[in-house]
Symmetry: C2
Subunit: 245 residues, 2 copies
């Protein structure tokens, strides 16, 4: 016979049952307006009906986490160049109103993904501006679930990737001016991260940008050199620690 304590113990040790979701923190940088944006969606169903949230879905039978992340992306936006990676997994008890700490019912775990897209290139699909929109990262409203935390993690990941990886060149056009690179960095890292001439000489010193020989004339200023990212020069450096600012 099972006594009270053992019964208690076996209840405590019982395994949790989960549904698994993916939520995408999709960022873009509006260089012209000097703003980092994140894509938000108004929830169409319970729980948290009508609250802004990250685009997400629950994982289906036979579907991988990454496939689920791509499924949401392809339903919401159309884009040619995309950087996507897993961000962080949120799985604590009671993170979703559908589970209560006491109910011991099904739990909802979310694997969040970080995505970076080129702002000029991306098209929002179907929904209206009232149900899906880009929000400046510093003006994100109170989101559903723990999605504010996901945005915070994602923004930090974006900063880290700009500092330590050439991710910027995945969302810049094929050719760009150094000033465009600087504006992208400034939008994310803030005005004070470096002055332009320091940034210019440091980024050129890395040896991964290639002067195309072409110039861009805009307004009355001196024509600016157009560069492209040199993947061949970068290849041998890929596994070396580098700072991109």
């Amino acid at each position: 016979m099972v006594n009270g304590e053992e019964q208690q113990q076996s209840i405590c040790n019982a395994l949790a049952e989960f549904k698994v979701g993916v939520d995408n923190a999709i960022f873009s940088v509006d260089v012209a307006e000097n703003r980092v944006l994140v894509l938000l969606l108004k929830r169409q169903g319970e729980p948290d009906l009508g609250q802004w949230s990250l685009p997400g879905t629950l994982v289906r039978r036979g579907e991988s986490l990454e496939d689920a992340a791509y499924r949401v992306l392809s339903e919401k936006i159309s884009v040619q160049n995309l950087y996507l990676e897993q961000l962080y997994t949120f799985g604590g008890p009671a993170r979703d109103p559908r589970e209560s700490p006491q109910s011991f019912g099904v739990r909802y775990l979310s694997v969040s993904y970080f995505a970076l897209v080129q702002h000029e290139e991306v098209q929002l699909l179907a929904e209206s501006a009232e149900t899906m929109a880009w929000f400046p990262c510093d003006r994100v409203p109170k989101l559903a679930f723990d999605h504010n935390e996901m945005v915070k993690y994602g923004y930090q990941r974006l900063r880290n990737k700009l500092e330590y990886s050439p991710v910027a060149f995945e969302v810049l056009p094929e050719t760009f001016t150094l000033n465009e690179v600087y504006q992208l960095y400034t939008a994310v890292l803030g005005e004070n991260f470096a002055d332009y001439s320091n940034f210019r000489s440091r980024i050129l010193k890395l040896g991964v940008l290639c002067d195309t020989g072409m110039k861009l004339s805009r307004g009355a200023g001196r024509p600016a050199s157009l560069y492209r990212f040199d993947s061949e020069a970068f290849a041998p450096l890929k596994d070396k620690p580098m700072i991109f600012i």
Copy 2:
């Protein structure tokens, strides 16, 4: 009435049911032997009975992911200083023999954690060397499930953390010689990452090590200065991109 195609569609869209596990990739560096080690456990139950694996567990009702990770750690090792962070989430279909791609039964998702401990300090609890042991990272056998991939991810994380963060000083003794730091880095990054005198001048230039004024005499060589990590000097640099090699 639901027709065949709709029925098919609704089966395809059905949500997967999950059990969630955590698996810990616990690393330590044996500086004397110049080796990076990972802790492995022989599986005591099905599936994959008798195969080496990472120490892991399934998440219980009411338990957070991190609490589950700490529960496994405290069952397996005794240690004072520990660095732990989430590594990566593996959740594809058919990653566990208990689920078959066709069965559409319960799936097993694993949130892996990366841990770093000080080799001299850690004690293995209870089990014998035949069921739990440190393995050099370059001699890890075929592991259960996708745990070889977790070790690979973990080892890469260890390299990145050494390159871009002061994690080394969390697993070195309170005071250390620069040669001990160099040996730790060499064990992880390989002999060729830098020669000692370059490494020495670069790491001192960061300004986060503090000479204690004490010397360590060992053998016939010149006494070596003992340093400690200067958390106060590091605090304002915490959010700046830095390279530690």
